[in-house]
Symmetry: C2
Subunit: 361 residues, 2 copies
């Protein structure tokens, strides 16, 4: 069995046992809460982990691109929610896919999108996107106009109105368990409030990894869609969604420059290996693009302060010598994973498999 230290760097390492454990814990939370489980696959984009999320076989999933939807449909996943508001000129491609699977739910939040669907000539399964406070996409759950739109969707012969869906992305901006729990409460509560005003028994779909991770039980919802939890990352550990031991992925890198005189080193993992996501942002006025660890994942006294395309600049009182291998826990695993065409799957330090994610749109 090949030891991870012999991989060419940069390499993206996925610890299979930790992924399995993260998957099992979230699946069990859905079961114990009595809500349907439709995990997001956008973080990993692999068939292998899509199946792990469902304990082995295929099952309902959530995707962020039509390319993911087609990729997973090709591997036998037949109940898919495309959870980004659809662009009108993607409807034709979505219809072609919908004909191949049992169900493809698409997302809208405007009359313009409803009209585009009505013009498409295909009867889509539709969710209405609701804004639970993140203020990215979605209709205001407390405005009368949103009720008008929901009724219009429900009455349109051109669609099947399956439910209302929200994403508490602002759970990433709060700190600590109590604040995340407050966001989690509003995530379900706003859908429940909206559904009562609407007076229709549609599905309430919720999902963000921080909210789903910290609550003991998912309430006020019929379905949950977390995604990042399969890997977690340095950011999720920092805000309290997980412990550092739950982080399943790391980037293996090599020290290619060591400068004791100026307390610096350079790694061969830059922005194209890690992504430039700053996670929580500067700490003590300095950036950190991940947590630099040794091969056993023990944190080292170093800070990854700058990334250029293929260089990662480290500050360290005692920089390690050229050739040293390190592992970096990424700030944001979704973006880091997407930089790699292949994942190296490990058990302890052994490379046991290679998985290839879906790419593009």
């Amino acid at each position: 069995m090949k030891d991870l230290a012999h991989l060419q760097t940069p390499a993206f390492l996925v610890d299979r046992n930790i992924v399995e454990q993260n998957c099992a814990r979230m699946r069990e939370k859905a079961r114990a809460s009595g809500v349907a489980f439709r995990p997001h696959v956008k973080t990993h984009k692999t068939i292998e982990i899509g199946r792990m999320q469902h304990g082995g076989g295929s099952g309902p999933i959530t995707v962020s691109t039509l390319a993911e939807a087609e990729f997973f449909a090709g591997a036998g996943f037949r109940d898919i929610t495309y959870a980004v508001p659809i662009a009108p000129d993607k409807l034709e491609r979505a219809a072609a896919l919908a004909r191949r699977v049992e169900r493809l739910n698409i997302l809208i939040d405007s009359d313009a999108a409803l009209q585009a669907i009505e013009r498409s000539g295909f009867r889509f399964d539709v969710f209405l996107k609701v804004d639970c406070g993140y203020h990215r996409a979605g209709v205001d759950p407390d405005s009368d106009g949103s009720i008008v739109l929901a009724r219009k969707i429900a009455q349109s012969p051109a669609v099947r109105f399956n439910g209302i869906l929200t994403h508490a992305g602002h759970s990433y901006d709060v700190r600590g368990l109590d604040e995340i729990r407050a966001v989690a409460h509003e995530e379900g509560a706003c859908l429940t409030r909206f559904r009562e005003k609407l007076g229709m028994n549609v599905i309430r779909s919720v999902g963000s990894t921080p909210t789903m991770s910290v609550v003991d039980r998912v309430e006020n919802a019929d379905e949950m869609r977390p995604g990042n939890y399969v890997f977690y990352d340095a950011f999720q550990a920092a805000i309290g969604s997980c412990s550092r031991d739950d982080v399943a992925v790391s980037v293996l890198a090599t020290v290619i420059g060591s400068y004791p005189d100026r307390g610096q080193a350079v790694l061969d993992s830059g922005a194209l290996a890690l992504s430039k996501d700053l996670g929580r942002g500067p700490i003590d006025g300095k950036n950190s693009y991940g947590i630099v660890c040794d091969l056993e994942l023990r944190p080292l006294p170093m800070r990854l302060v700058a990334l250029s395309q293929e260089h990662g600049k480290v500050e360290a009182a005692n920089p390690p010598p050229v050739g040293t291998k390190v592992r970096i826990l990424p700030n944001h695993s979704c973006l880091t994973a997407a930089m790699f065409d292949v994942y190296h799957v490990i058990e302890r330090r052994d490379i046991v498999a290679e998985w290839r994610p879906c790419r593009g749109w």
Copy 2:
């Protein structure tokens, strides 16, 4: 001919005429300055533009990964500098490539790397990396230890000592032509000073797009290696390396959510299409992940304030309706280009070709 407005979004658009013009201008500057031209290919990573950089055929190039070196070698490029300090365990792969081409220069900046080469059993062509003020990689040109190391490299029978190389990456941190020109002066001057102390007639290799763009004539150097200039980007235009009309690339995106009540819109181009590079950083306290333009590249009164994986959040007094297509000039074209497996090449608004960049390491 297909109009760009009909592409599925997000799509990466490359304006062939602007690339040709950027390539011709830099090539002419090298010729007029009497310095050898070894352009960097890391920004575009395509054979097509690699040839354009040399006016049609192949020629000397600079790369940032061994994957690029192998990709271009496979297309007939036979004189390659791998301009990132080499990790010792990449020497075997580098030697295999070096045997296939006329010359593969590798970069070192430490005795540890020299010793690794000596142990490798292959006689490499070597450049010594010098730090001209960027403080990322490289030896201090004014320290005696650097002279000792250079002499050791020169005297080692295990290598051919071909030159000294620097990259003025700190030209990205300054503002305005005068400050960039001062960095450009020191870029060549420090190599010249170092070479005089060394007393050897080795090549002085310089190169960063800001410095090479703003000087009328490249001085104190024997070779230049700019790369970003083929595309330029919003950042280069902001610091004065180019005009906005010289930016050859844009990301085509679609408005998928429009929220006039809160002065916002959402695009289907997020962090996986644009990268999270902030360019010059927040302006007036707010982020901007590129310049949002209409299809004719006229800037729109909008700011791209936040990116999540597949959503770009825009602030605009009058957000455009769902379905509107926009073009985004990226902050950092090197990182944005690397997010795409295919480039859509345009002339005016016509799609005329598809090019596929090299990926990975």
